[in-house]
């Protein structure tokens, strides 16, 4: 039987689905809450997708599997910077946006068909800060300060 590793995080953000969607897909917002990183994609089903550090080095890449603005985004994600993550192959990232009273319920799922995945262990330590900073940016206009002062080599 195939093993699986999964990180799931739910947060509620006082914003609109459209504003949250833009914050998730537009670099002018992404760089503010995601440690200066950028993403490159046409954001259409079948488009390629890349995540880059502030110097323009590609850390992750994949393809847009589902694009349903402002409700759901699914993409494949292969890490290419650290060898032990790269060896695990493609993972899958899902953003789900659901309106509730006065807030958007945002569910992020990052999963891979690998048992005890090092990639999922790694991103499990990173997502909470990124998503806390995203919520602060949308609710207060200010992203959170970064924990790391420099991108690792």
């Amino acid at each position: 039987m195939m093993g699986n590793s999964k990180f799931v995080y739910v947060t509620y953000i006082r914003t609109t689905p459209e504003k949250l969607w833009d914050a998730l897909t537009k670099n002018e917002f992404i760089k503010l809450y995601w440690a200066g990183s950028q993403q490159r994609s046409q954001w259409r089903i079948g488009s390629s997708w890349e995540a880059l550090d502030p110097k323009g080095n590609v850390w992750d890449h994949g393809e847009i599997l589902e694009y349903d603005r402002p409700n759901k985004l699914v993409l494949t994600w292969k890490h290419v910077h650290f060898k032990e993550f790269e060896a695990e192959g493609f993972s899958r990232l899902t953003y789900l946006l659901e309106p509730t009273k006065g807030a958007i319920k945002f569910t992020l799922t990052h999963e891979i068909d690998v048992e005890e995945s090092k990639l999922i262990e790694g991103v499990s330590g990173g997502w909470p800060h990124i998503l806390a900073s995203l919520k602060s940016l949308l609710e207060t206009g200010h992203a959170l300060e970064e924990e790391m002062t420099e991108w690792p080599e």
């Binding site: 995080y9 947060t11 509620y12 807030a103 909470p128 602060s136 609710e139 200010h142 959170l144």
Partner: protein, 150 residues
């Protein structure tokens, strides 16, 4: 050994002391915990109760560790609905760590019961409560109860 665990990490722009007060003082808890509040003097060995606005007890337990403003561990028994009420005590831990101008809050809620109903239920509740807490501390406004119709 724990069989069911809920783990959640968030970062809040506040101080450890303000976060501790928000987690333990009834006047604050009532504002972001969707009409629930907690009664305790938060000293080790003291009892602890979670009540709704009518004073009905939903959960109860004891303070196992209390180190303001860094760490709180409580035993947690659900009192309101079966089958969670029949499960033995679960254990809930708040860990508060300063990260520069931010505070990192780690909430872990664990039970020795495999596929615990209680841990399943609180796994849906904690993200709402902790999102509301973060909004409350950063903006002064908690979130409305998301379980009510949009």
């Amino acid at each position: 050994m724990s069989k069911s665990t809920f783990l959640y990490v968030t970062y809040i722009r506040t101080t450890a002391d303000k976060l501790w007060d928000a987690l333990t003082k009834t006047e604050f808890v009532k504002q972001y915990w969707f009409n629930m509040h907690q009664d305790s003097d938060w000293r080790e060995g003291s009892s602890w109760e979670m009540k709704n606005s009518k004073g009905e007890v939903w959960d109860s337990g004891k303070i196992l560790e209390s180190h303001p403003p860094r760490k709180l561990v409580i035993s947690w028994h659900h009192e309101h609905d079966e089958p969670a009420r029949s499960e033995p005590n679960s254990r809930m831990t708040y860990l508060i760590e300063t990260a520069g101008p931010l505070v990192k809050l780690t909430v872990s809620h664990e039970s020795d019961v495999e596929n615990s109903t209680l841990i399943g239920k609180v796994s849906g509740g904690w993200p709402m409560i902790l999102s509301s807490l973060k909004s409350f501390l950063e903006t002064g406004q908690p979130l409305p109860d998301p379980r009510k119709a949009a």
